[in-house]
Amino acid sequence: MSVNIIIKNAVKKYGEHTVISDISVDIKDKELFTLLGPSGCGKTTLLRMIAGFNSIEGGEFFFNDKKINDMEVSQRNIGMVFQNYAIFPHLTVRQNVEFGLKNRKLSKEVIQQETDKFLKLMQIYEYRDRKPEQLSGGQQQRVALARALVIKPDVLLMDEPLSNLDAKLRLEMRQVIRDIQKEVGITTVYVTHDQEEAMAISDRIAVMNEGVIQHIGAPQEIYHRPSNKFVATFIGRTNLLDATYTHTDKIIKVGEDSFTMENLNIQQDLPVMLSVRPEDFILNKEDQKGLKGIIRDSYFLGINTHQIIELTHNNQTVEVIQESSLENLSEKGEAVYLKIKKHKINVFSADGKTNYIG
């Protein structure tokens, strides 16, 4: 059985220090939900509150309609995968995997059968009689996953499960986790600080900062329409430009450039902040439209070329990414013009807290 997890007004304090002040979130049945944020943002804390390793200072946690606030860890029926795998070093691979089943008073045949099934599913059946120290990092990770899943948990919790693996293995295991999660069909809460990993693996992502959820949404949504400046800068790269908005004719004016934006929820004239991703600038030299700037540096990175450009009107530097062309790179010191793909940019309030696009 899989469940949806409802968290209402969660509060976490360590002594006087409040780590999480008020988080509410509804994690749907069978979805892979990621808590993403910089270190210290409270994502692991929240995960451990769901697991029952951290006490809950306020709010309510539900699996379906069952409140779990005071339930023992061992009664919650969760599968957990830890950053360091937490494989029992004194037990063999098989003993690790069947550990949870043995706590459930099942018959020997069932235990054997289920253990075999998951050992095979995770492709570690051939290592079943080895001790963990004889396994590689990726294999240990598979054991951890098998051990967590074999008990048919209501919820799977994963705390930065890939951060101890090398880059190649990380990509491979990412796919394994994604596939298994879909195959078993289990509500999963996944914690990471790696935005690319989060985007690749998640159904939905909650971006957290300083104990507050900044944005919940599908990967495309948080990338293209981030709810505030923090999300826009944390997910991918972006350039922030000061601009003004005139609400009578719906015109955004930035430097010497201006254009209309029809889709903003603003009813007055005010300063705004534009978030323009590096790929949303169009660089041209000929028709002299857009923001004037001077090339300060450029890097050829294969598919793309990155250019650092100093804007003439306020001396701010921005980053521009273009598909690499066969011609030579632009010269340093050369004057260029930047047009903005206005349908892709985001317009924030001057303090960066609100996205006006609606």
Partner: protein
């Protein structure tokens, strides 16, 4: 559910504190009362303390103890630090055998070393006679300060050696290369770079040596003669033929505790100021040497090890000599061993059962206390942690007296029982086992236990199915070390034993005092064999590397 869980560990905490209250705190408070209350009038009095400080005879024992302990500590550091450095940095022939010998030489009871040195260098010692009769040189007198210094230094330098070797393992070789790269190498580097790095360890090891040397009873008793140290005085005052003076013995004990406490706190103060964590990626690898340097390091290593193992080898040798009354006679036989088995079967049984019983409790209690202090921190855990370290600064003979005075009358009457000896061993050895268990537990990631909980295992089950087995290897090797220490323990046992609870060390001591040298040598050899076997088992289990005492 939540309530229950608190109660389980909570009640274990209370029970542990209760046990410490009865068997440690109460005897110590009682000891203080004995020292401060006049027996006849029931009035508070400082008479005993005044007596101690006003009569030079007593006060001097304190000065003597200090003098010899301080010198021993310095000397062990001076001898052992270069040895550990040589062992880490250079290749030496037969290094692993030397290591075993170094450890072995520290494992016997110090008074056996003292006794053997008397046989070698005493008034009628073999070496003394040799020089006197053949060469005509009179070797300086070994009795007194010099003798104690010699015996305790050779006995205790292995502690520093082991501590420093451990610390050097954590020194990254890049640090040495960096200093060489910056123009500091050789001896200069040893003092400017390595010494500061191992300073916290030197302080910790030095404290241990200081405590052991200060509390040692058997060595000054045998070889000290006129040079009286205060464990001897405490013993004499307590077990005087004229009817011992409990009050005065208690007062000296209190003074001893105050001194050890001050030393302990000073050490703590300096070592926390100098402490830092190290971990090495590139360990120092031993390299080959050539020429004079090669000769020098071999000469130093082999010389020091030979001298320190000599007493044991000589005891072993004399155990096969024929004896005639209290003197050795020409010829060799197993007569001493035959005499031993006729007379002291019971003693050997005691030597096994008393420490074994204590060991069971020590392991159980240490694991619980370690678990509580590491995994369930809180006010009571802190209290427990502090209280459990108290025995560290109580000299063995002081603890013996405290237990005797406290439990020689109802409601708890224990004097003369085996139980009081077991309790004494538990109290004395527990701090070490707790420390090592804490260290082991701190290395086990909390996650592993959490994983077990998340898989539906209860807290108790997690503890004995996951935590305990993971700690097992470390605990067993710690237990073997405790075992070795306990079977050669003298200073507490000498106060607590009766005819029925005599152990090997006491029997050896008594036989030496009575002059039955053959029997004493045979018994000491048996003890050494026991120790060696235990040590080999330890090596097998721990893989030789992490020996700490």
């Amino acid at each position: 559910m939540k309530k229950n869980k608190f109660d389980l560990w909570g009640s274990i905490k209370i029970i542990m504190l209760g046990l410490y209250g009865i068997f440690l705190i109460y005897p110590l408070i009682n000891l203080l009362a004995q020292a401060l209350v006049d027996k006849d009038t029931g009035q508070l009095t400082l008479t005993y303390f005044v007596k101690f400080f006003s009569v030079p005879y007593y006060f001097n024992t304190l000065l003597n103890s200090f003098k010899v302990t301080f010198c021993v500590t310095i000397l062990t550091v001076i001898l052992a630090t270069p040895l550990a450095y040589i062992f880490t940095r250079y290749n030496i022939y037969g290094k692993s055998v030397l290591r075993i010998l170094i450890i072995l030489s520290s494992m016997s009871a110090p008074f056996i070393g003292a006794y053997s040195w008397i046989l070698l260098l005493g008034r009628s010692g073999v070496i003394t006679q040799f020089f006197k009769n053949i060469i005509g040189i009179t070797i300086p007198n070994i009795y007194g300060f010099v003798g104690i210094l010699l015996v305790l230094t050779l006995q205790l330098y292995p502690l520093i050696f082991l501590y420093v070797s451990g610390a050097l393992k954590n020194v990254d070789n890049s640090l040495l290369e960096a200093s060489e790269n910056l123009g500091t190498s050789g001896v200069k580097r040893f003092f400017l770079v390595i010494t500061p790095l191992i300073m916290p360890t030197l302080l910790a090891g030095g404290l241990l040596v200081f405590m052991r040397a200060l509390a040692d009873f058997g060595t000054p008793m045998l070889i000290g003669e006129g040079f009286r140290t205060f464990p001897v005085t405490i013993f004499n005052e307590f077990i005087s033929e004229m009817g011992g003076d409990d009050g005065f013995a208690s007062a000296i004990s209190i003074i001893a505790i105050i001194i050890t406490t001050i030393v302990f706190l000073l050490q703590k103060y300096f070592s926390t100021r100098k402490s830092f964590t190290m971990s090495s990626i590139n360990k120092i690898r031993p390299v080959d040497t050539k020429g004079f340097k090669k000769f020098l390091i071999h000469f130093y290593s082999y010389g020091l090890v030979s001298i320190s193992i000599m007493p044991q080898i000589y005891i072993f040798y004399t155990s096969f000599k024929n004896t005639n009354g209290t003197t050795f006679a020409p010829g060799y036989s197993f007569n001493s061993y035959i005499a031993v088995f006729d007379r002291v079967g019971k003693v050997i049984v005691n030597t096994m059962t008393i420490p074994a019983t204590a060991l069971v409790f020590i392991i159980g209690l240490a694991v619980l206390v370690a678990y509580i202090t590491v995994r369930r921190p809180g006010f009571f855990s802190n209290v427990l942690d502090t209280v459990s370290m108290v025995p560290y600064i109580i000299p063995g003979s002081v603890l013996g007296i405290a237990l005797l005075i406290a439990f020689n009358k109802p409601p708890i009457y224990l004097s003369g029982t085996m139980m009081i000896m077991v309790i004494a061993l538990i109290i004395r050895r527990l701090p070490y086992t707790i420390r090592s268990s804490v260290a082991i537990l701190q290395q086990i990631p909390m996650n592993v236990e959490e994983a077990a909980l998340s898989l539906g295992s209860s807290k108790m089950k997690t503890f004995y199915r996951i935590t305990m087995p993971m700690m097992a290897a470390g605990i067993i090797s710690g237990a073997i070390l405790s075992w070795i220490t306990m079977i050669s323990e003298l200073s507490t046992a000498i106060l607590l034993y009766t005819g029925r609870t005599k152990t090997l060390t006491i029997e050896i001591y008594t036989q030496i005092i009575r002059g039955n040298y053959g029997i004493a040598a045979a018994l000491a050899t048996i003890l050494a064999v026991l120790t060696t076997i235990s040590l080999l088992v330890f090596n097998k289990i721990s893989g030789d590397d992490d020996l700490s005492l």
